[in-house]
Point group: C2
Chain length 236, copies 2
């Protein structure tokens, strides 16, 4: 592990790359915490916690801007090549997705603030299950990023198909709910957006998994089928 | 215009930057065409056109991967600094947003394929209006990118607030529709996703506007209020 990272002539450069990686992991940890708090806030109709999530999003945004500047500075000063350059590119893309996962967490927390969803306990429980699943994906992909482990990243990549199926099942359930009780529609629409947000977070975890594989294997696997990835890239 | 771009010692480097800019504009043109075709397909319930949009998305994806490689190659080979590096960074981010606008266009086109929305002519007309508005934003931000015009980019940035208001009005209209005719809910849900897609495309046009301003003014304006941008950055 990390064998691509720790072989620089310049110890300073090594330190800079290590720092920026650590900053990404700190940002990832914060985003994970934001997502879990947002899910807790919805589940417990906890408006105070929801406000905390809303406020915390500023910190996520500030971290993105600062890491982005760090990456640009490294490119300008160190002129990295090959795997170093791939690492900086992977980091720059990862933080963009993390920032947007943070935005989705803020959107989810808003539902608790509007506190209209309390009556839909059955739906809320299922949304919470999907939320914990997505949160686990985020945790696992950050772990794969920390260890730059392409196999672990690929497992997260495959997990997204399950999240998509949960999303479809939940959407159908919500529509049935709306049809049975049309007066509930305005309230339930908030839940529709939450479920959509969770599905998008799954997509973004899949993106981050792709950047890890791109860094480790040197291949851009976006828009490549999972069978082809498994055969041509992970298998080698 | 372009005064930051055409003053390189190396004519080859100039040519490379010019090429990658042209590729971004070609990609932008294709994405714009995809969005307009998707809107036409929904409006006319034209399944054939919708399939064309679905197929065309592969081309958008391929262009993103190829321009991304071009950017990485330029960084590795030319080791750009200052405004050249900002240009490459702005391009790398712009194409990521363009690719996702392409994805949203594909999602919108799907609604025409499922051809369940024909009965909702009133809603369809309003969605089409919002769609044309968003399409104009995309056109204008690509134009601002082509001329690297920060003022024009800022006009697009401000336009997004109007799109957000259209989005809220349409969502309310759709909910009323659902409550009046609950059996229509599964059909109308497709339209809900389309409206959400359009809102997201507006956000992405706003992102691209931010990259143009970042390139021209050298300042990262994400997470900055529009009043502050106007006073501190555009005004100077």
């Amino acid at each position: 592990m990390d064998h691509n990272i720790s072989k620089h002539i310049s110890g300073n450069f090594n330190q800079e790359l290590e720092n920026v990686r650590n900053h990404v992991l700190a940002m990832g940890g914060l985003v994970e915490q934001q997502l879990n708090s947002a899910l807790d806030a919805v589940n417990d109709s906890n408006a105070e916690l929801a406000k905390k999530v809303e406020h915390g999003d500023y910190k996520v945004n500030a971290m993105e801007v600062s890491i982005d500047e760090e990456c640009t500075r490294i490119i300008a000063k160190r002129q990295p090549a090959a795997s170093d350059l791939r690492l900086v590119v992977a980091i720059a893309k990862t933080i963009a997705d993390l920032e947007r996962i943070g935005d989705e967490a803020r959107r989810i927390a808003k539902v608790a603030l509007e506190s209209t969803a309390k009556d839909q306990q059955g739906l809320l429980g299922n949304i919470d299950n999907m939320g914990r699943h997505v949160s686990q994906m985020l945790h696992d992909v950050l772990d794969a990023f920390a260890r730059m482990d392409a196999e672990a990243a690929f497992r997260v990549h495959k997990e997204d198909a399950k999240v998509d199926r949960e999303y479809e099942a939940l959407t159908r359930q919500i529509m049935t709910y709306m049809m049975e009780d049309p007066r509930s529609i305005p309230k339930v629409m908030d839940l529709v957006w939450s479920v959509r947000s969770l599905e998008r977070i799954g997509d973004r975890c899949q993106n981050i998994a792709e950047y890890v594989i791109y860094f480790v294997k040197g291949k851009d696997i976006r828009h490549t089928s999972q069978d082809d990835i498994e055969r041509d890239i992970i298998g080698k």
